[in-house]
Protein backbone atom coordinates (compact mmCIF):
# COMPACT_ATOMS: atom_id res chain seq x y z
CA UNK A 1 0.00 0.00 0.00
CA UNK A 2 1.37 3.40 -0.91
CA UNK A 3 1.79 6.16 1.64
CA UNK A 4 -0.93 8.13 -0.15
CA UNK A 5 -3.42 5.29 0.08
CA UNK A 6 -2.70 4.86 3.79
CA UNK A 7 -3.17 8.57 4.27
CA UNK A 8 -6.47 8.53 2.40
CA UNK A 9 -7.64 5.51 4.38
CA UNK A 10 -6.87 7.28 7.61
CA UNK A 11 -8.71 10.41 6.52
CA UNK A 12 -11.72 8.27 5.68
CA UNK A 13 -11.76 6.52 9.05
CA UNK A 14 -11.20 9.88 10.80
CA UNK A 15 -14.20 11.22 8.90
CA UNK A 16 -16.41 8.36 10.09
CA UNK A 17 -15.14 8.77 13.66
CA UNK A 18 -16.38 12.33 13.45
CA UNK A 19 -19.71 11.23 11.95
CA UNK A 20 -20.23 8.85 14.88
CA UNK A 21 -19.68 11.68 17.36
CA UNK A 22 -22.08 13.91 15.41
CA UNK A 23 -25.02 11.53 15.82
CA UNK A 24 -26.22 12.73 19.26
CA UNK A 25 -26.20 16.27 17.88
CA UNK A 26 -28.12 15.23 14.76
CA UNK A 27 -30.72 13.51 16.96
CA UNK A 28 -30.93 16.35 19.49
CA UNK A 29 -31.20 19.10 16.89
CA UNK A 30 -33.72 17.33 14.61
CA UNK A 31 -36.82 18.41 16.57
CA UNK A 32 -35.57 21.99 16.63
CA UNK A 33 -34.92 22.04 12.90
CA UNK A 34 -38.44 20.79 12.20
CA UNK A 35 -39.86 23.16 14.79
CA UNK A 36 -37.92 26.06 13.30
CA UNK A 37 -39.28 25.33 9.84
CA UNK A 38 -42.84 25.12 11.16
CA UNK A 39 -42.53 28.32 13.21
CA UNK A 40 -40.83 30.20 10.38
CA UNK A 41 -43.75 29.57 8.02
CA UNK A 42 -46.12 30.38 10.87
CA UNK A 43 -44.35 33.74 11.30
CA UNK A 44 -44.61 34.70 7.64
CA UNK A 45 -41.57 33.08 6.02
CA UNK A 46 -41.88 31.14 2.78
CA UNK A 47 -40.53 27.58 2.65
CA UNK A 48 -37.61 28.82 0.55
CA UNK A 49 -36.79 31.55 3.09
CA UNK A 50 -36.88 29.07 5.98
CA UNK A 51 -34.54 26.81 4.00
CA UNK A 52 -32.20 29.71 3.17
CA UNK A 53 -32.04 30.91 6.75
CA UNK A 54 -31.00 27.44 7.95
CA UNK A 55 -28.50 27.01 5.13
CA UNK A 56 -26.85 30.43 5.52
CA UNK A 57 -27.05 31.14 9.26
CA UNK A 58 -27.01 27.58 10.66
CA UNK A 59 -27.55 28.66 14.27
CA UNK A 60 -30.69 27.25 15.87
CA UNK A 61 -31.24 29.64 18.77
CA UNK A 62 -30.52 32.73 16.66
CA UNK A 63 -32.90 31.54 13.93
CA UNK A 64 -35.64 31.00 16.49
CA UNK A 65 -35.10 34.48 17.89
CA UNK A 66 -35.00 35.91 14.36
CA UNK A 67 -38.34 34.49 13.23
CA UNK A 68 -39.95 35.33 16.57
CA UNK A 69 -38.99 39.01 16.16
CA UNK A 70 -39.95 38.91 12.49
CA UNK A 71 -43.40 37.67 13.50
CA UNK A 72 -43.67 40.59 15.92
CA UNK A 73 -42.82 43.01 13.06
CA UNK A 74 -39.70 44.28 14.78
CA UNK A 75 -37.44 46.58 12.70
CA UNK A 76 -35.17 44.55 10.36
CA UNK A 77 -31.92 46.04 11.74
CA UNK A 78 -32.99 45.01 15.25
CA UNK A 79 -33.65 41.45 14.05
CA UNK A 80 -30.16 41.27 12.52
CA UNK A 81 -28.66 42.74 15.70
CA UNK A 82 -30.46 40.13 17.80
CA UNK A 83 -29.19 37.32 15.58
CA UNK A 84 -25.71 38.77 16.05
CA UNK A 85 -26.17 38.98 19.85
CA UNK A 86 -27.36 35.37 20.15
CA UNK A 87 -24.44 34.18 18.02
CA UNK A 88 -21.90 36.42 19.70
CA UNK A 89 -20.62 33.50 21.79
CA UNK A 90 -19.08 32.15 18.56
CA UNK A 91 -16.44 34.88 18.83
CA UNK A 92 -15.13 33.10 21.91
CA UNK A 93 -15.42 29.64 20.30
CA UNK A 94 -13.67 30.98 17.23
CA UNK A 95 -10.69 32.22 19.24
CA UNK A 96 -10.51 28.83 20.96
CA UNK A 97 -10.95 26.65 17.87
CA UNK A 98 -8.51 28.79 15.86
CA UNK A 99 -5.70 27.55 18.09
CA UNK A 100 -6.59 23.93 17.26
CA UNK A 101 -6.96 24.22 13.47
CA UNK A 102 -4.16 26.70 12.71
CA UNK A 103 -2.36 23.95 10.71
CA UNK A 104 -5.22 23.64 8.17
CA UNK A 105 -5.13 25.44 4.78
CA UNK A 106 -7.02 28.76 4.90
CA UNK A 107 -9.96 27.55 2.76
CA UNK A 108 -10.49 24.59 5.09
CA UNK A 109 -10.35 26.92 8.09
CA UNK A 110 -12.93 29.23 6.47
CA UNK A 111 -15.26 26.26 5.90
CA UNK A 112 -14.56 24.90 9.39
CA UNK A 113 -15.64 28.17 10.98
CA UNK A 114 -18.79 28.26 8.82
CA UNK A 115 -20.08 24.96 10.25
CA UNK A 116 -18.88 25.66 13.81
CA UNK A 117 -21.65 25.51 16.42
CA UNK A 118 -21.68 24.79 20.17
CA UNK A 119 -21.22 20.99 19.98
CA UNK A 120 -18.63 21.09 17.17
CA UNK A 121 -16.57 23.50 19.23
CA UNK A 122 -17.04 21.59 22.50
CA UNK A 123 -16.20 18.17 21.03
CA UNK A 124 -13.16 19.53 19.13
CA UNK A 125 -11.91 21.29 22.24
CA UNK A 126 -12.28 18.08 24.26
CA UNK A 127 -10.30 16.17 21.61
CA UNK A 128 -7.54 18.78 21.59
CA UNK A 129 -7.35 18.82 25.39
CA UNK A 130 -6.86 15.04 25.44
CA UNK A 131 -3.73 15.62 23.35
CA UNK A 132 -5.08 14.58 19.93
CA UNK A 133 -4.85 16.62 16.75
CA UNK A 134 -8.06 18.10 15.37
CA UNK A 135 -7.91 17.04 11.71
CA UNK A 136 -10.01 18.44 8.86
CA UNK A 137 -11.55 15.08 7.84
CA UNK A 138 -12.55 14.32 11.43
CA UNK A 139 -13.99 17.81 11.93
CA UNK A 140 -15.90 17.60 8.65
CA UNK A 141 -17.38 14.29 9.79
CA UNK A 142 -18.41 15.95 13.02
CA UNK A 143 -19.99 19.01 11.42
CA UNK A 144 -21.29 18.08 7.97
CA UNK A 145 -24.06 15.65 9.04
CA UNK A 146 -25.36 18.21 11.53
CA UNK A 147 -25.47 20.86 8.80
CA UNK A 148 -27.06 18.66 6.13
CA UNK A 149 -29.74 17.27 8.46
CA UNK A 150 -30.40 20.73 9.91
CA UNK A 151 -31.10 22.25 6.49
CA UNK A 152 -33.18 19.35 5.19
CA UNK A 153 -35.24 19.05 8.37
CA UNK A 154 -35.89 22.80 8.47
CA UNK A 155 -37.33 22.61 4.97
CA UNK A 156 -39.40 19.54 5.91
CA UNK A 157 -40.65 21.37 9.00
CA UNK A 158 -41.66 24.34 6.87
CA UNK A 159 -43.57 22.10 4.46
CA UNK A 160 -45.20 19.75 6.97
CA UNK A 161 -45.06 21.93 10.11
CA UNK A 162 -48.70 21.85 11.01
CA UNK A 163 -48.70 18.07 11.37
CA UNK A 164 -46.52 17.94 14.54
CA UNK A 165 -48.44 16.36 17.43
CA UNK A 166 -48.19 17.38 21.11
CA UNK A 167 -44.55 18.54 21.39
CA UNK A 168 -44.74 19.04 25.16
CA UNK A 169 -45.51 15.38 25.94
CA UNK A 170 -42.52 14.39 23.82
CA UNK A 171 -40.28 16.72 25.83
CA UNK A 172 -39.06 18.39 22.64
CA UNK A 173 -38.91 21.88 24.14
CA UNK A 174 -36.43 20.77 26.82
CA UNK A 175 -34.06 18.51 24.87
CA UNK A 176 -31.57 21.29 24.21
CA UNK A 177 -30.98 22.26 27.89
CA UNK A 178 -30.44 18.55 28.67
CA UNK A 179 -27.92 18.28 25.88
CA UNK A 180 -26.10 21.47 26.90
CA UNK A 181 -25.94 20.31 30.51
CA UNK A 182 -24.20 17.15 29.33
CA UNK A 183 -21.62 19.27 27.50
CA UNK A 184 -21.08 21.44 30.60
CA UNK A 185 -20.50 18.30 32.68
CA UNK A 186 -17.96 17.10 30.13
CA UNK A 187 -15.68 19.99 31.08
CA UNK A 188 -15.87 19.37 34.85
CA UNK A 189 -12.22 18.28 35.15
CA UNK A 190 -10.96 21.67 33.98
CA UNK A 191 -9.40 24.07 36.47
CA UNK A 192 -11.90 26.50 37.99
CA UNK A 193 -14.83 24.61 36.45
CA UNK A 194 -17.20 25.02 39.40
CA UNK A 195 -16.54 28.74 40.07
CA UNK A 196 -16.91 29.48 36.34
CA UNK A 197 -20.17 27.55 36.05
CA UNK A 198 -21.50 29.20 39.22
CA UNK A 199 -20.58 32.71 38.02
CA UNK A 200 -22.08 32.15 34.56
CA UNK A 201 -25.23 30.59 36.00
CA UNK A 202 -25.88 33.44 38.42
CA UNK A 203 -25.01 36.17 35.91
CA UNK A 204 -27.12 34.64 33.13
CA UNK A 205 -30.13 34.23 35.42
CA UNK A 206 -29.85 37.80 36.72
CA UNK A 207 -29.42 39.12 33.17
CA UNK A 208 -32.34 36.99 31.97
CA UNK A 209 -34.57 38.54 34.65
CA UNK A 210 -33.37 42.12 34.13
CA UNK A 211 -31.94 42.79 30.67
CA UNK A 212 -33.80 39.89 29.06
CA UNK A 213 -33.11 37.32 26.36
CA UNK A 214 -30.93 36.97 24.28
CA UNK A 215 -28.44 39.18 26.13
CA UNK A 216 -28.25 36.82 29.11
CA UNK A 217 -26.12 34.49 26.99
CA UNK A 218 -23.36 37.03 26.31
CA UNK A 219 -23.53 38.57 29.80
CA UNK A 220 -23.40 35.20 31.58
CA UNK A 221 -20.55 34.00 29.38
CA UNK A 222 -18.51 37.14 29.97
CA UNK A 223 -18.97 36.76 33.76
CA UNK A 224 -17.52 33.24 33.77
CA UNK A 225 -14.67 34.10 31.41
CA UNK A 226 -13.78 37.27 33.36
CA UNK A 227 -13.61 35.26 36.57
CA UNK A 228 -11.05 32.92 34.98
CA UNK A 229 -9.06 35.90 33.67
CA UNK A 230 -9.08 37.79 36.97
CA UNK A 231 -8.07 34.91 39.24
CA UNK A 232 -4.28 34.45 39.50
CA UNK A 233 -2.92 32.17 36.73
CA UNK A 234 -1.81 29.42 39.14
CA UNK A 235 -5.49 28.81 39.96
CA UNK A 236 -6.40 28.37 36.32
CA UNK A 237 -3.58 25.85 35.80
CA UNK A 238 -2.41 27.48 32.56
CA UNK A 239 1.25 27.63 33.63
CA UNK A 240 1.33 23.99 34.70
CA UNK A 241 0.08 22.50 31.49
CA UNK A 242 2.65 20.89 29.18
Amino acid sequence: MSAEAICEGRARSDFWDGVRLSMPVVVASAPFAVLFGALAVDNGFSVLEAFLMSALIFGGASQMVGIELFGQHVAPWLIVLSIFAVNFRHVLYSAGLGRRIAHWPVVQQALGFFIMTDPQYAVSEAKAVSGETVGFAWYLGLGLPVYVFWVIESALGAVFGKLIPDTHALGIDFLLPIYFLGLVMGFRKRPLWLPIVAASAVASIVAYKTVGSPWHVSIGAVAGVLLAVILPPHHSGVGERP
Binding site: M53, L56, F88, R89, S94, A122, A169, L181, W193, G224
Partner: protein, 98 residues
Protein backbone atom coordinates in the same frame (compact mmCIF):
# COMPACT_ATOMS: atom_id res chain seq x y z
CA UNK B 1 -35.75 41.08 -3.28
CA UNK B 2 -37.95 40.91 -0.19
CA UNK B 3 -37.11 42.35 3.24
CA UNK B 4 -37.03 38.82 4.62
CA UNK B 5 -34.35 37.89 2.15
CA UNK B 6 -32.16 40.82 3.19
CA UNK B 7 -32.65 40.02 6.88
CA UNK B 8 -31.42 36.49 6.19
CA UNK B 9 -28.37 37.68 4.19
CA UNK B 10 -27.40 40.29 6.80
CA UNK B 11 -27.99 37.79 9.61
CA UNK B 12 -25.80 35.26 7.80
CA UNK B 13 -22.96 37.76 7.34
CA UNK B 14 -23.21 38.88 11.00
CA UNK B 15 -23.14 35.24 12.11
CA UNK B 16 -20.14 34.35 9.96
CA UNK B 17 -18.28 37.36 11.38
CA UNK B 18 -18.81 35.98 14.89
CA UNK B 19 -17.51 32.59 13.71
CA UNK B 20 -14.25 33.87 12.23
CA UNK B 21 -13.88 37.07 14.27
CA UNK B 22 -12.46 35.64 17.46
CA UNK B 23 -9.82 33.72 15.54
CA UNK B 24 -8.86 36.70 13.35
CA UNK B 25 -8.35 38.87 16.42
CA UNK B 26 -6.46 36.32 18.52
CA UNK B 27 -4.18 35.14 15.68
CA UNK B 28 -2.68 38.65 15.40
CA UNK B 29 -0.81 38.00 18.62
CA UNK B 30 2.25 35.75 18.70
CA UNK B 31 2.09 34.97 22.40
CA UNK B 32 -1.20 34.48 24.15
CA UNK B 33 -1.07 35.91 27.67
CA UNK B 34 -1.71 33.24 30.35
CA UNK B 35 -4.75 35.15 31.59
CA UNK B 36 -6.20 35.32 28.08
CA UNK B 37 -5.55 31.60 27.73
CA UNK B 38 -7.26 30.96 31.09
CA UNK B 39 -10.19 33.00 29.82
CA UNK B 40 -10.36 31.01 26.57
CA UNK B 41 -10.26 27.76 28.51
CA UNK B 42 -13.25 28.99 30.52
CA UNK B 43 -15.34 29.69 27.40
CA UNK B 44 -17.13 26.37 26.86
CA UNK B 45 -18.32 25.92 30.45
CA UNK B 46 -19.21 29.61 30.76
CA UNK B 47 -21.24 29.84 27.54
CA UNK B 48 -22.98 26.48 27.74
CA UNK B 49 -24.02 27.20 31.34
CA UNK B 50 -25.92 30.30 30.19
CA UNK B 51 -27.95 28.10 27.83
CA UNK B 52 -28.99 25.86 30.75
CA UNK B 53 -29.32 28.04 33.87
CA UNK B 54 -32.34 30.22 32.94
CA UNK B 55 -34.12 27.14 31.57
CA UNK B 56 -33.59 25.36 34.91
CA UNK B 57 -35.12 28.28 36.77
CA UNK B 58 -38.26 28.34 34.65
CA UNK B 59 -38.71 24.55 34.67
CA UNK B 60 -40.75 22.18 36.85
CA UNK B 61 -40.24 18.83 38.64
CA UNK B 62 -40.16 16.78 35.42
CA UNK B 63 -37.41 18.93 33.92
CA UNK B 64 -35.43 19.02 37.16
CA UNK B 65 -35.60 15.22 37.47
CA UNK B 66 -34.33 14.92 33.90
CA UNK B 67 -31.42 17.30 34.52
CA UNK B 68 -30.42 15.57 37.77
CA UNK B 69 -30.39 12.17 36.03
CA UNK B 70 -28.45 13.69 33.13
CA UNK B 71 -25.82 15.07 35.51
CA UNK B 72 -25.48 11.75 37.36
CA UNK B 73 -25.22 9.66 34.17
CA UNK B 74 -22.67 12.10 32.72
CA UNK B 75 -20.30 11.28 35.61
CA UNK B 76 -19.90 7.77 34.15
CA UNK B 77 -21.45 7.49 30.70
CA UNK B 78 -20.78 9.20 27.38
CA UNK B 79 -22.68 12.06 25.75
CA UNK B 80 -25.25 9.85 24.01
CA UNK B 81 -25.95 7.79 27.16
CA UNK B 82 -26.57 10.86 29.28
CA UNK B 83 -28.70 12.53 26.63
CA UNK B 84 -30.93 9.47 26.15
CA UNK B 85 -31.24 8.95 29.92
CA UNK B 86 -32.23 12.58 30.46
CA UNK B 87 -34.71 12.55 27.58
CA UNK B 88 -36.27 9.26 28.79
CA UNK B 89 -36.73 10.61 32.32
CA UNK B 90 -38.23 13.83 30.96
CA UNK B 91 -40.79 12.07 28.76
CA UNK B 92 -41.72 9.62 31.55
CA UNK B 93 -41.99 12.30 34.23
CA UNK B 94 -44.15 14.50 32.01
CA UNK B 95 -46.72 11.72 31.71
CA UNK B 96 -47.31 12.15 35.46
CA UNK B 97 -46.62 15.78 36.33
CA UNK B 98 -47.20 17.36 32.91
Amino acid sequence: MSTTFWIIIAGAIATYLTRVGGHLVISRFDNVHPRVEAGLNAVPAAVLTTLVAPAVLGAGPAEWAALIVTAIVSLRGGLMAMFLAGAAVLILARQFVG
